[in-house]
């Protein structure tokens, strides 16, 4: 029973990690940029989702709005932060991204205050019994929601012109241009989708703990990076597997070795072990 509950918790964490890490891997696969500011968009999504839900009383309305808004912000970040420095060595983009992330944290604190915000009426908190465990509705929504969203994106990438063009561009941007594909449009689309996913993950987290704070992007910022390295940089399937694996490892690890190592240490220790065995990541090797 405990085992099942821990596994379920691991699944929930894993789905959340997946939702935020996939966006990061999408950006990396297209532009080879480690988009640390992605975690700032995650936090922005959490804030907007919460504020919109409090204002409209409807999470169903707030979530897509927040995701779309953050998607647009993501595109703006590409245009104003990354595009001007694309031809420079990759560490320039990394530094710019880190700087942007720190600035975002401070902006949140300045605008929304340091105390964090809570839902006026936290939605999806009802609990019910399932298989002997007590589950909150939000936990089901996270798992089902992530699977659904990622599944739809996967389908779209295979069965629509846009999706195929996107995959072609990731594969070989120069060739894609020769196919009449606007590489710029694909980049914007990439950032839009990745950022919207981060926003959804941010809203999920805010529902789980009924709290959004300026520093909420802190842990995801480096953990998501670690996940995409673990999965094999640029590989979406790898990222998904790594996310789930990490979620489950954390769930069990915090209980059984939590008194020696804190949760992040467990996550990184696990990753170091995997990377020692397979340095290119689980699915890497490009």
């Amino acid at each position: 029973m405990l085992f099942l509950e821990l596994f379920a918790q691991g699944l929930i964490y894993g789905c959340m990690y997946a939702t935020i890490a996939v966006g990061l891997t999408l950006v990396y696969s297209l532009l080879r940029i480690l988009h640390v500011a992605h975690a700032g968009l995650f936090a922005l999504g959490g804030y907007l989702g919460l504020l919109l839900t409090n204002a409209t009383g409807s999470l169903i309305l707030a979530l897509p709005l927040a995701a779309a808004a953050v998607g647009v912000v993501g595109m703006a970040i590409y245009r104003f932060c990354y595009e001007p420095i694309l031809h420079r060595p990759p560490y320039v983009a990394l530094i710019a991204s880190i700087g942007l992330f720190i600035a975002l944290e401070e902006i949140f604190r300045l605008i929304f205050g340091p105390y964090g915000l809570t839902y006026a009426q936290a939605p999806l908190q009802e609990t019910f019994a399932m298989g002997g465990m007590t589950i909150r509705r939000v936990e089901i929504v996270i798992v089902v929601g992530s699977v659904l969203i990622l599944g739809i994106l996967s389908w779209l990438s295979r069965h629509t012109r846009l999706g195929v063009a996107w995959r072609a561009t990731v594969d070989d941007p120069q060739m894609a241009a020769s196919f009449g594909i606007s590489v710029l449009k694909v980049r914007y689309l990439n950032f839009f989708i990745g950022s919207a996913l981060a926003a959804v993950a941010g809203v999920f987290i805010s529902l789980l703990s009924n709290l959004v704070e300026p520093t909420m992007g802190g842990v995801p910022s480096y953990k998501a990076l670690a996940i995409i390295v673990l999965g094999g940089l640029g590989n979406v399937t790898g990222t998904l597997c790594a996310s789930l694996l990490l979620g489950v490892t954390e769930a069990f690890g915090t209980i059984y070795i939590g008194n020696f190592m804190d949760r992040d240490a467990i996550a990184f220790a696990f990753m170091i072990v995997v990377l020692m065995v397979r340095p290119q990541g689980l699915f890497g090797g490009r």
Binding site: R161, S178, K185
Partner: protein, 254 residues
């Protein structure tokens, strides 16, 4: 008659290396122009500049009288250019037909929402099949790209370029790596396409085939244009012969 393509004073350097200096030429509609010259003369760079894949420091490029010098690649393709690459790199995640279909559908990609909503890709797939037949590799339609012989890949590349419905087809050494028979066959196919009304600019090293199909030649050497005109006359010019000296190319006219 106004030329279909005009290139004026194109200059391009990478760092300190001058790849192209003040290259100018024009291509008439329905013409079959061949671009020749020793290795490293800048021929591929010239075609890439026309398509916008590389940016010259200075140039004025016009397609049907309209300046395209500052347009991005996908816009130039929309206006009627297409380029085949010397090193063929089709998308390995798709079949032969899907590669061509992707190119055929490029117009639909211009509007993002439209591209998402309009899911029916059958018309593109049908067109792709037609193009593949035209270049003679219809049998390979549903093959995955991996493991195909070079001859097939080269024809795939031509089909892919045709699928963009261009007015001007740029070909970068389509015959490279093919044996004598295959090269002849593919050159014939390209000539047929040209006879069907397509304007063609082709870079080629295989001078015997060039002599068979080209209507006009432009010769580049060390980034500069050194000759232009009737194929046989151009190849007899001393400057052209000197440029090729030391190259393993037999330029004796038939």
């Amino acid at each position: 008659m106004k030329p279909l393509l005009e290139v004026a004073d194109l200059t391009l350097h990478f760092g300190g290396v001058k790849a192209l200096t003040d290259v100018s030429f024009a291509v008439r509609e329905k013409e079959f122009l061949c671009l020749i010259g020793p290795n490293g003369a800048g021929k591929t760079t010239l075609l890439k500049s026309i398509l916008g894949i590389v940016q010259p420091q200075q140039a004025e490029i016009r397609l049907a009288g309209r300046s395209i010098t500052h347009l991005p690649t996908h816009r130039r393709i929309r206006l009627g250019l297409a380029l085949t690459h010397q090193i063929v790199r089709p998308f390995t995640c798709m079949t032969v037909r899907d590669n061509v279909a992707l190119a055929a559908g490029h117009q639909r990609l211009q509007r993002v929402l439209g591209a998402l909503v309009h899911l029916d890709r059958r018309s593109e797939r049908a067109k792709a099949a037609a193009f593949l037949e035209r270049v003679g590799i219809g049998d390979y339609m549903d093959h995955p790209v991996a493991g195909l012989p070079l001859g097939v890949l080269k024809r795939l590349e031509v089909a892919r370029a045709l699928a963009l419905s261009p007015r001007l087809l740029l070909l970068d050494e389509p015959l490279a790596g093919l044996n004598h028979v295959e090269a002849g066959r593919l050159a014939d196919t390209v000539a047929e396409i040209n006879q069907g009304g397509m304007t063609v600019v082709m870079i080629e090293h295989n001078l015997s085939e060039v002599l068979r199909v080209a209507q006009r030649l432009v010769v580049l050497d060390n980034g500069a244009k050194i000759a232009e005109g009737d194929p046989r006359q151009v190849l007899l010019m001393p400057t052209v012969q000197a440029a090729y000296l030391g190259e393993e190319t037999d330029i004796a006219a038939d």
